[in-house]
Amino acid sequence: MATAERQRQEVDLIGLFARMARIRAFERKVQALFKRGNLPGFVHLYIGEEAVGVGACSVLDDADKITSTHRGHGHLLAKGADPKLMMAELLGRETGYCKGKGGSMHIVDYSLGILGANGIVGGGLPIATGSGLADRVLGRDRVTVCFFGDGASNQGVLHEALNLSAIWSLPVIFLCENNHYTEWMRTEDITAGRIADRSQAFGIPGVQVDGNDVLAVREAAATAVARARAGEGPSLIEAETYRHHGHNEGEEVFSGPYRPQDEIDDWIARDPLVLFRNRLVDDGAAPEQFDEIQEREEQLIEEAYRFAEESPMPAAASALDDLYAETE
C-alpha cells in the first residue's frame, strides 16, 4: 500500500480542480458548437461527472492506461489528452487525433495510454482486460482503468472480463460511472441489484463511492491501483454520479422530459466542481484562484477551438489510408 499512500499524499488539489474545470470548459464549448450546428455526429457530454475521470486518473502515471466510452471527453482530458487535437477531431479535421476518421466516440492517444473511446457500449471491457494481460505477461508495473457506464454493466462482457481478470490476477480497475440512466431509461428499471456487488462472486472487491467527490473517487482508485500493482488483481468501483445534460446533445427533439426535475436539481446542487471548490475554500484555499483557473481553462479551450477551426479538412483521398499497417 506504499504507493497508494504516497499518491494520496502527493496530491495537487488545485491541479485536480483545474483538470475538472478543463473538462467543464471543453464540454461547454462543445455544447455551444453543437447548438450552432457546427459539430458533426453524435455528442455525449460529461458535464456533472468530472470528478470520476479526474479522481481516477489522478492516481495514474502516463504509462498507465485507460479505456473509455462514448461519453469519453472527460476521461481523455483527465488522462492528459490535448484539447487541441481533441477539438480538431470533433470538427473532423486533418489535425485531429484520428485525422478526422474517428470523431467524438473514437478518440485515441496511444502515447498517453488512452486505448480508445468506444461507440459500442461495453466494448472497452475486453480491451482493458487485454491491456492488463499484456502488463501481466510482460511483467510491467502498469495498471489499466476501464471506464464503463451503468448501462454497460448489463453487457455480458463485464461478467467475462471480471472472471478473466480474476483468474489471471490482471491489474485492471473496472470503474463504473453510474449516472443512473441508460440513454432515456432509468437504469434501475433494467438492472437487478447493485452494480458494485457484481464482482463479489468472482472474489473481486467491489465498492460504491460518491462519484461527485473527486477525493473519494481518488481514494477508491488509489486503493484499487495499489492492489493491482501489488499483483493482487482487479477491483470494481461504482461511482455514483449524474449527467447534467441529456444522453446526447439534441435529444430534446424527441425525448421530452424523462427525469424528475427535483432529481436534476438535487444533483446540480451537488455539482462536483462546486463541491470541491467549497471544500477547498473551507480548508483555507484562496477563493479568487478558482475563477482564475476556470478562466484560464476556458481560454485554453478557446485556443483549442481556434486551432481546430483553422485546421484544414482532411483530403478526401486520405479516407483510403490507415486501414492496414504496412508489412515490413
Binding site: 458533426p40 455526429g41 453524435f42 477531431e89 473532423g92 479535421r93 484520428c98 478526422g100 476518421k101 474517428g102 470523431g103 466516440m105 473514437h106 468506444n118 461507440g119 459500442i120 457500449v121 461495453g122 466494448g123 448501462g151 454497460a152 448489463n154 453487457q155 455480458g156 441508460t182 440513454e183 432515456w184 431509461m185 428499471d189 433494467i190 438492472t191 424527441f254 425525448s255 421530452g256 424523462y258 479538412m313 482532411p314 478526401a316 483521398a317 486520405s318 479516407a319 483510403l320 486501414l323
Partner: protein, 332 residues
C-alpha cells in the same frame, strides 16, 4: 387504393404505424429493445401507451441475450419484434442470429416456426462513424435461414413491416437511416407486401439499374437525368434481399442487356457482387456490355463529412457507371 393514400408520411411514421397495426391485429406480437418506450429512431413511438408495458418492453443493454430471447419466445408462442437501434449492434449478438435464429428451424427438421423480427436502423446517418454506420445486409444474406428486408420508401416499408411480423420466419428489417427523414405516400389501411417481390420503380429499355434502399432514390435521379441524353434506364428495387426476386432482375436484363448495381455497402462479398455474378451466370447471352457495380469503398465509414462522402455512394459515380455501361457494346 390511391384514394386512401396518406401523403407525405415519414418513413419512421410509416413503420410505427405498421407496427401498431401488427400489434393490434395479433396479441402475441410484442416489442422489445433499448428505449422502445421512448423510441430513439421513432419506429416504436407511442406503442407503450397503446399496448402497455407487458407488450412493449424496455430492455437492458444485453443484445446477445435479448436477441436470443426472441428465439425462445418465438418458439413458444410470441411474435417478438426487437428494435436493435443501430445495425452495428448485430455483431454483439451475432451468435444468436446466425447460430440460433437462422438455424433452429432447419436443424430441427422443420419442427418449429420462429416468427420474429429484428428491426434496426442502418447505414451512415451523417458522421456517426465506423461503429454506427454499418450496412450488414450482405453478411446476413450470406447466412441463409433469415429473411432480409430493406425497403426504399415509406409505402414499401409499411407493407413489408406488416408482412415481416406475420411471416413465420425470422426476418431482419432494416431501415436505411439516410431515408429516416424521407417522406412518401402510405395507404391508410396498410396491406402486407410480398416478401420476395421486387418493384420496378421506373421502366426502361437500355439498361437495368438494380438499386438497394437509399440507392434507389439516387438511381431514379440519375435515370431521370439520363433521359435527356436519350438513355432509357429501368430501375429495380429488390426491396427484400432474402428471398431475392431474381426473376424480376433477369427478366429485365434479358430485355435491356445491360446491368448496373448500386449498393450502399462495402464492395467485397457484398450484395452488388452477388447480383452481378448471378446475372452474369443467368443472362450471359443477353449481356451487351460489361456489368458494373457502384458501392462504398472497402473501408470502415470514417467520421469527417468529407471522408464519409468520399467512401460512400455518390450520384456522379452512378451516372458514370450507367453511361459507361450503355456506351459499352459487346466485348469492348
Amino acid at each position: 387504393m390511391t384514394e386512401t393514400l396518406v401523403k407525405d408520411t415519414y418513413m419512421t411514421t410509416a413503420i410505427a404505424g405498421a407496427l401498431k397495426a401488427a400489434m393490434a391485429e395479433d396479441e402475441s406480437v410484442i416489442v422489445l429493445g433499448e428505449d422502445v418506450e421512448l423510441s430513439t429512431i421513432g419506429c416504436t413511438k407511442g406503442l407503450v401507451d397503446e399496448f402497455g408495458t407487458n407488450r412493449v418492453r424496455n430492455s437492458p443493454i444485453s443484445e446477445a441475450t435479448v436477441v436470443g430471447s426472441c428465439v425462445g419466445a418465438a418458439a413458444t408462442g410470441l411474435r417478438p419484434v426487437m428494435d436493435l437501434m443501430f445495425s452495428s449492434f448485430f455483431y454483439v449478438a451475432l451468435d444468436q442470429v446466425a447460430n440460433q435464429a437462422a438455424r433452429l428451424r432447419y436443424m430441427s427438421g422443420g419442427q418449429v416456426d420462429l416468427p420474429l423480427v429484428y428491426f434496426a436502423g442502418t447505414g451512415p446517418s451523417g458522421s456517426a462513424a465506423a461503429q454506427h454506420s454499418e450496412n450488414p445486409h450482405s453478411l446476413l444474406m450470406h447466412l441463409s435461414g433469415i429473411k432480409v428486408v430493406f425497403p426504399s420508401s415509406p409505402g414499401d416499408a409499411a407493407g413489408l413491416l406488416i408482412a415481416s411480423v406475420r411471416d413465420p420466419n425470422p426476418v431482419v428489417f432494416l431501415l436505411d437511416l439516410m431515408l429516416a427523414g424521407s417522406k412518401g405516400p402510405v395507404p391508410a389501411e396498410i396491406e402486407p407486401l410480398l416478401i420476395g417481390k421486387a418493384e420496378v420503380k421506373r421502366s426502361g429499355d437500355d439498361v437495368t439499374i438494380v438499386a438497394i434502399a437509399s440507392a434507389v432514390g439516387a438511381a431514379l435521379e440519375v435515370a431521370a437525368e439520363l433521359e435527356a441524353d436519350g438513355v432509357s434506364a429501368e430501375v429495380i428495387d429488390p426491396r427484400t434481399l432474402t428471398p431475392f426476386d431474381w426473376d424480376a432482375v433477369t427478366e429485365s436484363v434479358a430485355r435491356t442487356g445491360r446491368l448496373v448495381v448500386v449498393d450502399p455497402a462495402r464492395r467485397t462479398c457484398g450484395a452488388a457482387g452477388e447480383i452481378v455474378a448471378r446475372v452474369t451466370e443467368s443472362n450471359w447471352p443477353d449481356l451487351k456490355s460489361r456489368p458494373r457495380r457502384v458501392t462504398w469503398e472497402d473501408v470502415p465509414i470514417p467520421f469527417s463529412p468529407v471522408l464519409e462522402e468520399a467512401v460512400t455512394l455518390r450520384q456522379d459515380q452512378i451516372r458514370e457507371a450507367v453511361t459507361a455501361t450503355v456506351a459499352g457494346n459487346g466485348r469492348a
